[in-house]
Every structure is written in structure tokens, then in C-alpha cells.
């Protein structure tokens, strides 16, 4: 990334990242030397100091992450308690769906299915009590396996996992549509 707004790129990247991002990673993704990244990170951090800014840049777990400032928590609480704003995000819902239908399942398998690192979302779902570790995979490099909790069933109003909507009801028309879509798609 030469002659282009590096600071903007870093901000954009930190904005969408779900986990702390290390300087090494930033350097790799943006193809810019680490020292340049560091300079920009400091500039961003400084620009966030003012009272008129609502987020701050924190160095956490070996990486950088944007957080909303703690001083605004009372307002965020009110916002959070409002039913319309406290839905699960699309990412969280997707991840929960994968765990629900494919349990027991490891973090890395979820990431493979979603195509993005899903550790932060998995942690969030754990904190909320929707999913929990079930035990380890067999074998030498055993990964922790996750499944949904009894609390998850309660919140969803389900008697058991067998009452999850049957996927077959959604699947066939979609495959058909997809197949047709591909047929219709111009590959020229």
C-alpha cells in the first residue's frame, strides 16, 4: 500500500475486526513495514483521546482493538435494554446456528464453515450461556468441542434439539434456486 491513506485502512480494519489485531498482522495485511504501522496506530490512539470521541484504542492480548469508552456505559445500557437494539448480530446468529445443527463441533470447524475466525463470537455466545464446552475430541491433537446449552433451548422455547426447525424444509428450494441461478449466470 504505497501513497495511499494508511491510517484510514488501519482504522477500517480495526473497525470490522472481532478480535485484537497484532502489529505483525496489520503489517502483513496492509503490506507496510511494522514501524509505519506503529506510527499510525499512535496517531489514531491520540486522535481518540478527546472527549468528543466515543471509542478508544486499547492494546489487548498482544493486539489492538477499538472499544467504546467506559464513561458512556450508562447510555449504552439503556440502548442495550431496549428490545429493538438487543438482537443477536448476524454473525452471532450464524455461529449459533452452526453449533446448534452440527454439535459437537470445534472452534476451528466453525471458522472453516464461516470462512472467518469466529473465536470472538464463540466467546460471546459462551458468555451469554447459549453454548458450552462439551468435552474433547478423541486423538492426540484434541480440540475442545462445543454444543448448545439447556438455557439455549429455554430461550428459544424448544423442548429438545429435535424441535429445531427441520433444515430439509429450507434446503431443497434453495438448492434448486442456486442451481438455476448458476445456469442463468453468464460465464462469459
Amino acid at each position: 500500500m504505497t501513497n495511499s491513506p494508511l491510517r484510514g485502512a488501519i482504522e477500517a480494519l480495526l473497525f470490522v475486526a472481532t478480535d485484537p489485531v497484532s502489529i505483525d498482522d496489520l503489517s502483513t495485511y496492509l503490506e507496510v513495514p511494522k514501524d509505519e504501522i506503529e506510527v499510525e496506530l499512535e496517531a489514531i490512539s491520540a486522535s481518540l483521546k478527546g472527549d468528543e470521541r466515543g471509542v478508544e484504542l486499547l492494546k489487548i492480548a498482544g493486539g489492538y482493538r477499538l472499544y467504546s469508552k467506559a464513561q458512556y456505559e450508562p447510555y449504552l445500557r439503556r440502548f442495550a435494554e431496549d428490545s429493538s437494539s438487543s438482537k443477536l448480530s448476524g454473525a452471532a446468529l450464524e455461529t449459533l446456528a452452526i453449533v446448534a445443527y452440527q454439535q459437537p463441533i470445534s472452534r476451528s470447524r466453525v471458522a472453516t464453515i464461516r470462512g472467518v475466525n469466529s473465536d470472538a463470537v464463540m466467546r460471546l455466545l459462551s458468555v451469554k450461556g447459549y453454548i458450552a464446552p462439551l468435552g474433547k475430541e478423541r486423538g492426540p491433537n484434541s480440540a475442545q468441542l462445543f454444543g448448545t446449552t439447556r438455557y439455549f433451548l429455554e430461550v428459544m422455547g424448544l423442548n429438545s434439539l429435535e424441535n429445531l426447525p427441520r433444515l430439509i424444509e429450507f434446503a431443497p428450494p434453495i438448492e434448486m434456486a442456486e442451481a438455476l441461478e448458476n445456469t442463468l449466470r453468464d460465464e462469459a
Binding site: L88, A97, I113, V127, N163, P165, L184, A188
Partner: protein, 253 residues
């Protein structure tokens, strides 16, 4: 993207051909619609696949050309009575309105494509309150129904496995031959003494494999390698006849 016409009379995009005919720059009497259609069919044969957009455009143009030619060759309105003529005009106006409407939406849809592309390039923060503020949110899941979960699952699975789904309109090739099925079957029959007819389905992982194993079983029966015995209204049992050497020889033939 557009189909290219290659005739003695005219060479170029088919849409332009229509414009030329309409503008009387080309003589419709000189144009062989049969040649036009034959060339198009040959082109499709060559491409081995039908692009629906190209085909739609071709059909529309070809149909319009046929209509123009018919009207030139057989002037008929004088034969219509007033009522029929009125009905004819009404039908024509409806067709005209529909063609224009469809064209309008097709043109505006290109803007949709651009907007969606731009929208997809802008990313939202999907973490929401995130882990550090998760305690603030009472119970986000209670606002979702079980169906939302199923839809989300379906969405993500489809998004990550497009290649698998795209081949659904093609009949998949069986991964093994009847011969292979026969050998697997024989191996299995020799390995276990007591064999029920269900072996045909128990070995198979798809419908097509059930058929293959069944055909394999029939061949083994035909070759005299196995026998099928059914007790009255009971299950069918498969019995292997002869010794192993003979059998291997038989299957190698």
C-alpha cells in the same frame, strides 16, 4: 454477451439487425429467418450450453422478425372486421407496454447491481456490544425465533458450499461401475456367513449405489456364484456357492 449474426446479408449483433430492419436499412424479404435460426442452433451445439439471456434476446428478435415478415407477406387487417381489429390493436398495445416495462426494469437493474456491489464492499461491525459489554444486553436471543436460526444456518452453509450446489441440475456420474459394485459385494458376502438381501442397501451411500449393488447382485446370480433363498414371507438370504478360487476366476472373466 449478445449473439452475433453471421449471414451474407448482415454480420453483427442480433439486436442491431432488428434496428436495421425496422429502419428499412435492410430488406426483410432478403433475410432468411431459417438460416438465422439454423446458425443459432449450430452455435448452441458448439457452445454445449444455453445461455438464457442470449437465448431470450435471440427469441425476442427472431419472433419480431418473423412477425414483421408475416405482416409484409400477408397483409391481413383488411380482412378483419371492426371488432377483431380493435381486439388486435388492444393486444398489440398490451404487448408494447409489456416490452417497454421489461426493458425499463432491465435497465434500472444495472444500477441495482452497482449499488449492491458498493454496499457489499462496505463492512459493518458485526460484533455489536462485544464480549466486554455483553453483560449489558439482557437476552438478545429471545428476540429471535427458531426459524431465524434455521435460516441463518441455511444461509451460511449455502454461502460456503456453492460449488456443491451448482451441480444439482446435472445428473451426477456414479462413482463406481457395476463391476466394482459386484466385487465389493462378493467380498462382503464372503467375509460374513449370514447375508440378508439388505446388503444391497446397507453398503450403498446413495440411491444410485443401491441400483448399482442390485445390478451387481443380479450379475452374481446370473453367473451362478450366489443363490437367493426366501423363507415364506420372510427376508431374502444370499448364499455363496462354490469355493473362493472359482469365484475369483469367475469375477475376473
Amino acid at each position: 454477451m449478445s449473439y452475433t449474426v453471421k449471414l451474407d446479408l448482415y454480420e453483427g449483433p442480433i439486436g442491431v439487425l432488428l434496428t436495421l430492419i425496422q429502419g428499412a436499412d435492410l430488406d426483410i424479404y432478403q433475410l432468411s429467418i431459417t438460416d438465422l435460426v439454423n446458425d443459432f442452433m449450430a452455435e448452441i451445439e458448439l457452445r454445449k450450453r444455453l445461455d438464457l439471456e442470449v437465448a431470450t434476446e435471440f427469441l425476442l428478435v427472431a419472433a419480431t422478425l418473423i412477425e414483421i415478415k408475416c405482416r409484409k407477406l400477408f397483409p391481413t387487417t383488411s380482412l378483419l372486421d371492426d371488432g377483431e381489429e380493435l381486439a388486435f390493436f388492444e393486444e398489440r398495445d398490451l404487448l408494447l407496454a409489456r416490452l417497454l416495462e421489461a426493458k425499463t426494469y432491465r435497465d434500472v437493474s444495472s444500477v441495482f447491481g452497482t449499488l449492491i456491489e458498493l454496499g457489499m464492499a462496505r463492512y459493518r461491525r458485526e460484533v455489536g456490544f462485544g464480549i466486554e459489554l455483553a453483560y449489558l444486553v439482557p437476552d438478545p436471543l429471545s428476540h429471535n425465533r427458531a426459524d431465524d436460526l434455521a435460516l441463518a444456518y441455511e444461509r451460511v452453509m449455502r454461502a460456503t458450499t456453492p460449488e456443491v450446489l451448482s451441480t444439482h441440475h446435472v445428473t451426477p456420474l456414479p462413482r463406481m461401475s457395476v463391476l466394482e459394485a459386484r466385487e465389493i459385494l462378493l467380498e462382503r458376502l464372503l467375509a460374513t456367513k449370514d447375508n440378508s438381501f439388505e446388503v444391497v442397501t446397507s453398503l450403498a451411500s446413495s440411491k444410485i449405489e443401491v441400483v448399482l449393488y442390485f445390478l451387481g447382485l443380479l450379475e452374481l446370480y446370473k453367473l451362478g456364484i450366489i443363490d437367493a433363498v426366501q423363507t415364506e414371507l420372510g427376508s431374502i438370504t444370499i448364499e455363496v456357492k462354490g469355493d473362493l478360487d472359482q469365484l475369483t476366476k469367475a469375477t475376473e472373466e
